[in-house]
Amino acid sequence: MLDEIKFAIDGTQIKANKGDTILKAALKHGIYIPHLCDHPDLEPFGGCRLCMVEIKGKGLSISCKVPVEEGLEIITESPEVNKVRRIAAELLIASHHVDCLECARNTDCKLQDVASYIGIEEGRLKRLKRVIKDLPIDDSNPFFIRDLNKCVLCGICIRTCGEILNVGAIDFAFRGTGTLVATVGGKPILQSRCVSCGECVARCPVGALVPKNAERPTREVSTVCTYCGVGCGIKLGVRGGRIVRVRGDVNSPANRGNLCVKGRFGYDFVNHPDRLTSPLIKRNGAFVEATFEEALDLVASKLTDYKGDQFATFASARITTEDNYVVQKFTRAVMGTNNLDHCARL
């Protein structure tokens, strides 16, 4: 049992786990505190300054880095809080490439959440200068687009790549308003150490990192990735009869939401017209469709013709470790040969 801490947000008593931050505890209880740079999977960053709250007796503080303490009294709405976070939000919007209707993240964007919560006033925003970056879009990666004109510099992608992946393909570069998320030498992401896992894409709070050809699914199907023996839990986003998105299942113990490039982006074969959807058996020099039963029967019947070193097995990386164990047992014990290999070794 985790230690429980009792504290108050805007007068409401809240119970939270020891070690949770104020922001995390609030969000868990359905209390929204504006934020951009915080992510539950990552160490707090504290850069966006939007999650500012007042801690009674201590004054203003960001809430994403402060652990809950017994008896704390948190105020999420006050003139002091608003003075700071309203300006922070306005500044972010004034420097954002706002094209919401054309943006892949429309209605699923943390900046929109912030803006709608704080309530951006046209008149106030007008006083600020529009400072839009005009950076080329990096579409070098076959699976995702980097449009840094929309980047809010939350650093989530950087921390994802460093903390979770240990790849470190990207980091902050330059200073002042020129600050950017960049690869070494500012090369296109494809020429960096990036392994195209898309973990950063999945976490970017805005439309700066979006999958290519993103389409919104209408429903999700839970399943297991077929690519390898790890067996990552995935959620297939389906639209009509097509898979248009894959995301990791956070509840799967195998991957806790993470995926590799194949699991996340390698799904277009599913709807490919050339994909085999049933076994084929060569009859009279031509392949004809057959059922699995027919195919298996055919293979089984032929196995008796080959014994010992006349026989070899190539096992697959796409089946589980347990299944591969059975394959080698079959090869050695039943077929009597050590002619056994595996595609992952090649």
Binding site: G47, K65, F172
Partner: protein, 630 residues
């Protein structure tokens, strides 16, 4: 070797130099001197001496703080006084050698002053120079006096006595107590009590601790730390070694910007020599205490002067300040170990305090700020340079007594202290005493000691714009308010000086400024709005003139001024007409000239070429058009 022997050797070398029968020439070759041509001067002097087959002791020294006088050299013939020569050029070398050294008669026309035996007629005593007279040089004691690449000079003038005293009998607690009693506050800007910092670092349980010196010095116009490193590097090395002993650290780092190559060279030399003498490294002076120093060159980001960013930078990461709440650097610092971070000057004064005692240190200063402060004086003042004064000296004393007041009969307008994080104070506040608290209360800060004096020809909006331009570029980009807010403030100020200010702009600058100050992570953002906020506070009318009347009262902002030719004074000489680069001046011989206000680009050439005796061209606030000529 025992310290007494080391000191004896040093003293003998120093005394021999002082008593030498050879003439001596001392050349100030700090970066400032070099920029003014000191190396060429030294070369020329060498050649002149060689030609005449004169043997002389030529010594390099650090910055003496008299910027206007660079290249500055001192010549001393045997027996005669030391004479300081100002603005020496290689061409003057022959004459100086011939007259002063060969003939023994100092060249008064190039002399700044003299000191020592046998005063010379017509030469001021150096100690009477206003620039020096009011100073108390403790931190700068050796700067411009000894050879900063010779440890024996440092030791002969009292150096390393403190370290010797410390390792041969003082407990760490005694040292920290002495520093605490002295009242020394960190000289890097924030003024945190040094003794308290040492004490808290010492108390954090750990086997490994680090001592780090902040020599990042990124404020535009500040060069105090560079001067100390170039002119007296041993004091910093000794101070850090003592700090290591006091807090229980065996390793130190000096974080110095790579743009300071001479400081790096002097520090490397200093640490090597200290090691050779057993004053650093293993078993210092036989005490069993080990301490080593590494020099780390930073890439010159202003924000890397902030403590947590500096630590990250040494670790090889991007220097981005860590937001609060976080542990103090004294608890979790370099490589996550307790780390003591102090400024160059804070370390360099430590040997002084331990040698002379806390009471003597505290005899100068104000109630809450003891000792001295070092300032780099720049701007519209008769004497600019590096000075050291007791805490509590007033701005007026610094600007008028030491700085010699505002030249060309102009009126004082404002003084900016604390660099880009500081503020501008008006004439009414000239009697403010300089110390950490009093300057902060007035709306400026002590900062690292930059002091820029402005006269009536300075536009305060433009000054704010200048500093915001700096901070905006140097923001590390981490927090939204600092990164984007400073840019908004800058663009608003740019619009105001371009005559495109909006009536709302002042309120917006105040609102933005307050939000950035409250909401930013580190001192950079928390202070970046200060130059704008203080100029609005004390010179609001100038902003209003720019915005409402479209006039720059100080006649600086090109878009808000006009040049006009006075019909009464114009002698129709055709000079300005010919010089105007855009042919904006109409007129002819015997026909009063008129500036076409629509064509004029306000470069001011006409005003500068109009003969002084006519003085017919005038620059006026406000932007005229051709319609006004009609």
């Amino acid at each position: 070797m025992k310290f007494e022997e080391i000191a004896q050797t040093a003293k003998e070398e120093w005394d021999a130099l002082q008593a030498s029968a050879k003439p001596s020439i001392v050349v100030g070759t700090a970066t400032c001197g070099r920029a003014a041509g000191a190396m060429e001067v030294m070369e020329a002097l060498r050649n002149e001496l060689k030609e005449r087959e004169i043997e002389a002791n030529i010594m390099e020294t650090g910055c003496f703080g008299l910027c206007d006088a660079e290249p500055l050299i001192t010549i001393k013939g045997p027996g005669g006084p030391s004479v300081w020569y100002r603005n020496v050029t290689p061409e003057m070398a022959g004459k100086l050698v011939e007259e002063h050294i060969v003939k023994g008669s100092p060249v008064a026309e190039h002399a700044l002053g003299a000191a020592g035996d046998g005063q010379v007629d017509g030469l001021t005593a150096m100690s009477d120079l206003p620039m020096l007279k009011f100073q108390v040089r403790r931190i700068l004691f050796n700067c411009g006096v000894v050879d900063p690449s010779n440890i024996n000079h440092y030791i002969a003038t009292g150096g390393y006595q403190a370290l010797n005293k410390v390792v041969s009998g003082m407990s760490p607690e005694d040292i920290i107590d002495e520093i605490t009693r002295s009242g020394l506050r960190g000289l890097g800007g924030a003024g945190f009590p040094v003794g308290r910092k040492w004490d808290s670092c010492r108390r954090v349980p750990s086997d490994v601790r680090y001592v780090v010196c902040n020599a990042d010095e990124g404020d535009p116009g500040a060069f105090q730390d560079r001067s100390v490193l170039e002119g007296d590097p041993y004091s910093v090395v000794e101070g850090m070694t003592i700090a290591g002993y006091a807090i229980g650290a065996q390793k130190g780092y000096i974080y110095v910007r790579a743009e300071y190559p001479l400081a790096v060279e002097r520090l490397e030399n200093a640490t090597a020599q200290a090691k050779e003498k057993g004053l650093m490294g293993k078993n210092i002076l036989g005490s069993g205490f080990d301490f080593d120093l590494e020099i780390f060159q930073g890439a010159g980001a202003f924000v890397c002067g902030e403590s947590t960013a500096l630590v990250l930078s040494i670790e090889g990461k991007r220097g981005m300040p860590k937001p609060l709440p976080r542990p103090r650097t004294t608890e979790v610092g370099l490589w996550d170990m307790p780390t003591l971070l102090n400024n160059v000057k804070s370390y360099s004064i430590v040997p002084w305090i331990l040698t002379k005692g806390a009471d003597q240190f505290a005899s100068l200063g104000t109630e809450r700020c003891k000792g001295t402060a070092v300032f780099s004086l720049t701007g519209k003042m008769a004497n600019c340079g590096l000075i050291e004064v007791p805490m509590g000296t007033t701005l007026r004393q610094i600007i008028y007594d030491i700085g010699g007041g505002i030249p060309k009969g102009k009126a004082f307008k404002a003084v900016q202290t604390g660099g880009p994080s500081g503020g501008c104070l008006p004439a009414e506040l000239l009697d403010t005493q300089v110390d950490f608290d009093k300057l902060t209360a007035a709306g400026a800060i002590m900062g690292s000691g930059g002091m820029v004096v402005m006269d009536e020809d300075t536009c305060m909006v433009d000054v704010a714009r200048y500093f915001l331009d700096f901070t905006q570029k140097e923001s590390c980009g981490e927090c939204s308010l600092c990164r984007l807010g400073t840019l908004q403030m800058l663009q608003t100020l740019e619009a105001i000086v371009a005559g495109e200010g909006d009536p709302d702009d002042i309120d917006m600058l105040l609102e933005l400024g307050e939000a950035i100050k409250t909401g930013s992570i580190c001192g950079l953002g928390q202070s970046a709005p200060n130059p704008a906020l203080t100029t609005i506070r004390y010179f609001r009318h100038e902003y209003e003139a720019h915005i409402h009347e479209k006039k720059c009262p100080a006649r600086v902002c090109k878009d808000l001024i006009s040049y006009v030719i006075s019909a009464d004074k114009c002698k129709a000489c055709m000079i300005c007409l010919r010089e105007c680069p855009v042919d904006a001046i109409r007129g002819a011989k015997k026909e009063v000239h008129v500036i076409d206000q629509d064509k004029c680009i306000r470069c001011g050439v006409c005003m500068s070429v109009c003969p002084e005796r006519f003085g017919a061209v005038e620059c006026i606030p406000g932007r005229l058009t051709e319609a006004d000529n009609a």
